[in-house]
Amino acid sequence: MSKGNAIGLFFLGIFVIFFPQIVTDNYILTVGIFIGINALVAMGLSILMGYAGQISLGQAGFYGLGAYVSAILSLKFGLPVPISVFISILTASLIAVILAIPSLRLKGHYLAVATLGFGEIIHIILNEWGPGGPSGFGDIPPFSIFGYTLRSTVEYFYLIWMFIILAMTFSLNLIHSLTGKALRAIHDSELASVTLGINITKLKIKVFVLSSIYASLAGALYAHYVTFLSPSGFSLFYSILILMVVVIGGMTNIWGAIAGAIIITILPEILRGFKEIDILIYGLILTFCLLFMRKGIVPLFIEIWEKRIKK
C-alpha cells in the first residue's frame, strides 16, 4: 500500500470512530450506513472495471443473493448470523465462479451479457420462490455475534464501516501488489499481458469473485440491518445505480467507490424538489461524467492536487 493510501485509511478510520460521537443524529447515521452498503458493492465493481477491464450489470444479483441467503439461513434454519453471512458469501462466490469461467474465457463483453442475464434471473427467482414472493418477508434476526445483538443505529454504523475499512485495506493491498500491476496491465492491453505470462482469465475470474464477495457481504449486512427484504430492491436498476457510483467516483481509484456512494446516496435527498425530472437528472449526470469527466471525481481531484503541488 502506498503512503498516501495508508494515511487516507488511517484518517478514514479516525473519522469513522469519531463521527457518531459528534453527529448523534440517527437519521444522518442511517444515511451513513446506506452509503457504506453502496460503497461496499461499488468497491468490488470498481476493481472489476478499473483493473480487469470488465463490466458487470448484475451486481444487484449478488447483492440480493447475499441478502436472501443470509436472511433465510438465519430466520428459517436458525443459524447464527455470522455463519449465515459467511455461507451467503460462499454461495455468491461459487455462483460467480460458475458464471465467470465460461464468459471470461470468451473475449469482449460476454461478462456484461452474462451478468445482465444472471441479475435478472436472480430477480425472477426471488419474486417466484423467495419467502413472501414479491411482497417480501420480515422478522429477519438482527446482526449478533458472541451472544451480543446489535440494535442501535450507531452499532450498525460501526459494523458496516468496519467492513468497509477491511475491504478497503484488502483492495488497496491488492492493487499495490505485483498482482495489482498485472491487473492494470490487463486493462491496458490483454495482448501484451498474455505474452508476459499473465493468466488473464484466471485473474479476471478472481477479481469477479472478489466483487461478488463484496456485493453479497453488503447484501447480508443490509438484510440484518433493515430486517425486511423484498425483491424490488435487487433489480437491474440497482446494478445500474452501482455502475453510476463507480463511474462518478472514478473507476481507476477505489476511493472513488466511497466518494461516488456518498454522492449517489445523498443525491436523492437533494433532488427531492425535482421529483418529476429526477430520472432525467440522473441521466444527465451520468452522461456528463462519461463524456467530460471520464476519470471520475477522485482521480480528477488527485490530478488537480498534484498539479498544484508541482507549481
Partner: protein, 295 residues
C-alpha cells in the same frame, strides 16, 4: 391444436418486437462492436411519439407516422453524434457500453417528463373483428405487427445487399480497417447504423402500442429481451436476430402455456445464458476464435 396455435400467435406478436429490437442491436454491433443498451427506449419512443402526434396534435395517421419515424431518426442521430462519436476514437468499449446506458436513462427521463407515468394507447391500424384460424383467434393488429416486421426484414435485406450504402455498411462490419482503406467513410456508416436502428425500434413501438399499451419505462425490459434474441441468433447476424426473436417469443409463450407463466422470463434468460456458455456464436453461427480485445 387450437390451443397450440393460439400460443403460437401470442409468441409471434411478442417475438416480432424482440426481433426488431434484436436487429437494431446487430446493426449497431456490426458497425461499432457496441452493445447499444438504449435500443429498447426507441420502441417506447415510437409508441409514445405516435400517440403524441395522433392524439395531442390530432394529425392524420400517415403524417404522424412520418413525424414519429423522423423524431426517432433524429434522436438516434443525436445519440451517435453526441455520445458515441467522441468516444469512438478512444476505442474504449467499456466506456461506450456505459454511455449507452446513460443515454437510455436520459431518454427515459425525458419521456417521463413529457408523458408522465401513465400508459398510452391508440386505435389499431384497422378496425374490425379478430380473425379466426382453426379456432385460434388473431387480432388484426397482431397481423399488422407480424406483417410490418416481415416488411422491415425484407427492406433491410434489400438495403444491405442491393444498395451501395448498404454494401459499404456490410463491408464495414466484416473488417473495419479494410473498409476504411477501401475509402468507405466509417464515421458515416456508424452514424447511419444508429439512425437505422432507431427507426426500426420506433417502427416496432408504433405497431405494438395498440396491443400492449406503452409507458415510459418499458424500454429496459425490451432491451434485455431484444438482446437475448440477438444473442440467441448470434450477435451480429441479422438473420439470427429474426429467428432468435421469434424463437424467444415462441418459447416464452409455450412456457407460459404448457409449463407455467411465472417461469417464462426465467426460461428466456436461462436459454440465453446457456447459449452464451455453450455456443457463444449463436444457434447458427460457427464458433470462431474471438480475438483478444484491446481495452
Amino acid at each position: 391444436m387450437t390451443l397450440f396455435l393460439q400460443f403460437l400467435f401470442a409468441g409471434l406478436t411478442t417475438g416480432s418486437v424482440y426481433a426488431l429490437v434484436g436487429i437494431g442491436f446487430n446493426i449497431i454491433y456490426n458497425s461499432t462492436s457496441i452493445i447499444n443498451l438504449a435500443q429498447g427506449e426507441f420502441v417506447v419512443l415510437g409508441g409514445l411519439m405516435m400517440w403524441f402526434f395522433l392524439h395531442s396534435l390530432q394529425l392524420p395517421f400517415s403524417v404522424s407516422l412520418c413525424l414519429t419515424l423522423l423524431t426517432a431518426a433524429i434522436i438516434g442521430l443525436i445519440q451517435e453524434r453526441l455520445t458515441i462519436k467522441p468516444l469512438l476514437k478512444k476505442g474504449d468499449l467499456l466506456l461506450m457500453i456505459m454511455v449507452t446506458i446513460a443515454f437510455s436513462i436520459l431518454i427515459r427521463g425525458i419521456l417521463m417528463f413529457k408523458f408522465g407515468k401513465d400508459p398510452y394507447t391508440y386505435a389499431p391500424f384497422t378496425e374490425g373483428e379478430p380473425i379466426e384460424i382453426f379456432g385460434a383467434i388473431i387480432t388484426q393488429q397482431t397481423l399488422w405487427v407480424i406483417g410490418i416486421t416481415a416488411l422491415c426484414i425484407v427492406l433491410l435485406y434489400l438495403f444491405f445487399n442491393k444498395t451501395m450504402t448498404g454494401r459499404a455498411m456490410k463491408a464495414c462490419s466484416l473488417d473495419m480497417k479494410a473498409a476504411r482503406l477501401m475509402g468507405i467513410n466509417v464515421s458515416k456508416v456508424v452514424m447511419l447504423s444508429f439512425l437505422i436502428s432507431a427507426v426500426i425500434g420506433a417502427i416496432g413501438g408504433i405497431a405494438i402500442t395498440p396491443i400492449s399499451l406503452m409507458e415510459y419505462d418499458k424500454g429496459a425490459m425490451l432491451s434485455v429481451k431484444g438482446f437475448c434474441a440477438a444473442i440467441m441468433g448470434g450477435l451480429g447476424k441479422s438473420r439470427g436476430a429474426v429467428v432468435g426473436g421469434f424463437t424467444l417469443g415462441m418459447l416464452e409463450s409455450l412456457t407460459a402455456g404448457y409449463i407455467h407463466s411465472g417461469l417464462k422470463d426465467a426460461i428466456a434468460l436461462l436459454i440465453m445464458l446457456f447459449i452464451l456458455f455453450v455456443k457463444p456464436a449463436g444457434i447458427f453461427g460457427k464458433t470462431e476464435i474471438l480475438r483478444l480485445r484491446k481495452f
